[in-house]
Amino acid sequence: MEEGWEPLEIGKGELLRAGEDVLLVAYGSMVYPAMQVAEILKEHGLSAAVINARFAKPLDTALIFPLAKQIGRVVTLEEGCLMGGFGSAVLEALQEADILVPVLRLGVPDVLVEHATPEESKADLGLTPPQMAKTIMQKFGVAQPTVVTGS
């Protein structure tokens, strides 16, 4: 098989970055932003693990569950509606497995997203990496820096 043309195993994600304080589980176009978020969190003394989920269904629970249990704080990231979306999938799976850890879901809430550049819309929705890093720190009550930097 020519390089770059190998099929993926159905339902298998990948761990892109190891970490201890918070687990970021990202889907599709939110994976690179999640890596940026992890960098920003690191600047603030938080070590984030990042999973590229690859599949929203079937979920790679074999990868997600042990890390969720071990780290104890989960953040999901998706570019889509939150209701019924990827974060919901993770939440449902954790709940069914009785892994009752706090979960923060980042994505698009129940609002219309009007015309604008995608960057403007993401900023309005709090979905730029610095904004998401800030939300994560607020949610998990870790030391609040006054200014969050990073791109």
């Binding site: 770059g4 043309w5 190998e6 099929p7 993926l8 159905i10 339902g11 990202a26 889907y27 599709g28 176009s29 994976v31 690179y32 590229n52 690859r54 599949f55 929203a56 269904k57 079937p58 998706e78 570019e79 889509g80 509606c81 209701m83 019924g84 979306g85 990827f86 919901s88 999938a89 698009v108 219309l112 997203v113 009007e114 015309h115 604008a116 550049t117 995608p118 403007e120 819309s121 993401k122």
Partner: protein, 485 residues
């Protein structure tokens, strides 16, 4: 009068053809200047400048209702309904929307963005009007591309058997969808456009006979036979298919001749029941570059008005996801005759134009017919083929029951490739690819995947083609990848 002084479309009433022509020129200037600066739809609006002016001269927009299909051609409408002075904000945050929106203007009588809805909405308004005992005109303006959508045909099927429900459908026929229009109905429209105008022969036959003095109301048996014979001779009547479907057909009319348009609309308003006015327009009319490259100038990023060339962006960009999709699928299709790429009128947008060029036998454009595309793909899957339905996240919404009923319940291996998943930008709420994860995740047998970058996209396309256990869907965003190999 200058366009900038028009704050209400009824101010068009009573203007002379010369005055309307001036306003037409002003609309075109503003349209071009704005889209060149902001990006947006170009050819569709330029083609309906005269149509809009003539129609609005024959309507009272304080009472009458107008429903534009898709709404991407409604920039002239926007300029004539109080939005000229703000028009430079087109498609920008907080500015004028690129489609129709009931929240933006009381003259946007029905919102749109997706195709083929206008006749249904207009018929709903007409039925409501009649139930409430009110009096006003309702007009749907639909393109020949949008007419290929099932909904439009469902609405015609319904309206055509309501002879007492007044409804005008204006068919804006420019022979183009985004790409050249496809299918048997467009072929029929083409035949109408090319045939001589003989439509009045059949209509008037009965009347003419009655006016032959010594015959009057009573035809002798021989004359009756002759009459029937002549009726048969008079067919094929122009627009016969629409007439058979219960519409009065009027046209074809030159869509850039104001006088002809006004006279035709005035006449058509007097006809009871459903009426179809067939207007022949030129996409991009008045801007030679857009008339010549009608596919390229359907919509454009900011460009130079003189050369027509896209404004060069500062740095070279990595390839778009669409391009990577088109290239990857084409390579796979070249080595696997079971692969068939299916688009619903989005060849260039999805990147399937690459497949069309290189492996035309394994490429299908079904027209703006997402529902049909999905069930047809399911049919192919039962025969061991590898159908790939390349449909934007937002447009796949239309084929939901087909995904549930024809694909998922039967667990058929159809591969859905959803471009423009996520936040799409200037197209706004009707086009956001926001719901696909939620609407597909709950379906039995469905597998969902999304790549982190364009290299992973390529591997996921291979994955989707290889996976034959059931349906599988791949979502990826608008725009460019990260430049990873």
């Amino acid at each position: 009068m200058h366009l900038s002084e028009l704050t209400h479309p009824n101010q068009l009433h009573g203007l002379s053809i010369a005055q309307l022509s001036q306003i037409a020129a002003q609309i075109r200037d503003k349209h071009l200047e704005t889209v060149a600066a902001t990006g947006g739809h170009l050819g569709p609006g330029l083609g309906v400048v005269e149509l809009t002016l003539a129609l609005y001269q024959t309507l009272d927009l304080d009472k009458d209702r107008v429903v534009w299909d898709v709404g991407h051609q409604a920039y002239p409408h926007k300029m004539l309904t109080g939005r000229y002075n703000n028009f430079h904000t087109l498609r920008q945050k907080g500015g004028i929307a690129g489609y129709l929106n009931r929240r933006e203007s009381p003259f946007d009588h029905f919102g749109a963005g997706h195709a083929s809805t206008s006749i249904s909405a207009a018929l709903g308004m007409a039925i409501a009007r009649d139930l409430k005992g009110e009096k006003f005109k309702v007009v749907a303006i639909i393109g020949d591309g949008a007419l290929t959508g099932g909904m439009a045909l469902e609405a015609i099927n319904h309206a055509g058997h309501l002879p007492h429900t007044n409804l005008m459908v204006v068919l804006n026929d420019n022979e183009m969808s985004i790409s050249p229009n496809v299918g048997a109905i467009p072929r029929y429209l083409n035949k109408i456009r090319l045939s001589p105008q003989v439509q009045f022969i059949a209509d008037n036959l009965e009347e003419q006979f009655k006016h032959i003095p010594f015959l009057g109301e009573n035809l002798t048996p021989e004359m009756q036979r002759i009459k029937e014979g002549m009726k048969r001779l008079a067919v094929p009547k122009v627009g016969a298919v629409f007439e058979e479907l219960g519409f009065t057909y009027v046209g074809p009319v030159d869509g850039h001749n104001l006088q002809e348009l006004i006279t035709t609309f005035q006449h058509a308003h007097t006809i009871p029941g459903p009426v179809l006015v067939h207007v022949v327009t030129v996409k991009g009319k008045g801007y030679a570059i857009a008339e010549k490259d009608q596919v390229g100038y359907h919509a454009q990023n900011p460009f130079d008005l003189v050369t027509g060339k896209a404004k060069p962006s500062s740095k070279p960009k990595p390839p778009s996801y669409s391009k990577v999709f088109g290239e990857t699928l084409t390579k796979l299709a070249e080595n696997d005759p079971r692969i068939v790429g299916i688009t619903a009128a989005m060849a260039t947008g999805t990147g399937l134009d690459i497949l069309q060029k290189r492996v035309p036998n394994q490429y299908i454009d079904v027209g703006i017919a997402e529902q049909h595309a999905v069930t047809m793909a399911a049919g192919m899957a039962t025969q061991g083929m590898r159908p790939v339905a390349a449909i934007y996240s937002t447009f796949l919404q239309r084929a939901y029951d087909q995904i549930v009923h024809d694909v998922c319940i039967q667990n058929l291996p159809v591969f859905f490739c959803m471009d423009r998943a996520g936040i799409v930008g200037a197209d706004g709420p009707t086009h956001q690819g926001m719901y696909d994860i939620a609407y597909l995740r709950c379906l039995p047998n469905m597998v969902l995947m999304a790549p982190k970058d364009e290299a992973e996209l390529q591997r996921m396309i291979v994955t989707g083609i290889n996976y034959t256990d059931g349906p599988i869907a791949l979502r990826y965003p608008r725009g460019n990848g990260y430049g990873v190999a």
